[in-house]
Symmetry: C2
């Protein structure tokens, strides 16, 4: 299977990228003077990609296991090297689950299955960064 | 330097991710039944990230070298493995430049500097995939 993405220079430090959904995305250099432009920083976007990948796994697994949660957030912190080319060398992924009667065992199992077996984005990150994952349960 | 991204489960197979710009991004599972939802596939998003990173380098370098182009697009094709965790194993990046009197030498130099020295996203991709880059000049 292949993914193809086309990205077009719009003006100054701004690009527009498509996605298989044909929904357009604006990428920009947050450090440049962009005026009122809003868009996404390419490197930060990689962390959104990681969170989306593992998050979708976990939601799907929790549904199969009939382990309901009310809310679920993922915070990803990526530490960049000082030298060029600046890349992530350490990444922390915090999974936060909120609800009543949270099933700790099933939640941990879902996260572990994603981290160790299913999430291709984490698998790729593992090749260039140390990955640390934490699971926090917030019983209501 | 650190990047921090928080991603929140919205409903079904849909997440919303912030970005340092505070612009929200919807991530979803394109293979699931999402109704009319539009959003970004996490893995395809990594290719947008790569294109944005190297594209911003190249625009900045061309500006410094006073090598003008009219238009510039980048097509990234990522080939995924068949087995889980599915990850990119081969990535092709096609740089297309359009204009009159395109300066082939400066354009190639800009792309090479980004690919070899500046672009952190390509540096990360190199750890898990073979990267092939092509430069195409389209003289008007």
């Amino acid at each position: 299977m292949k993914n193809t993405v086309t990205t077009t220079w719009k003006e100054n430090m701004q690009f527009e990228s498509d996605n298989p959904s044909n929904h357009k995305l604006t990428l920009y250099d947050a450090s440049a003077d962009n005026g009122d432009l809003v868009g996404y920083s390419p490197k930060a976007l990689m962390l959104s990609s990681l969170a989306g990948c593992t998050g979708l796994d976990v939601v799907s697994l929790l549904k199969k296991m009939r382990a309901e949660v009310d809310d679920f957030t993922i915070t990803v912190v990526g530490e960049l090297t000082e030298e060029h080319p600046k890349h992530y060398h350490a990444v922390t992924v915090d999974y936060n689950f909120y609800g009543t009667d949270l099933d700790e065992k099933k939640i941990n199992k879902s996260v572990n299955l994603s981290v160790d077996r299913y999430c291709g984005v984490i698998e790729m990150f593992r090749k260039f960064a140390t990955i640390k994952t934490n699971v926090y349960l917030h019983q209501k």
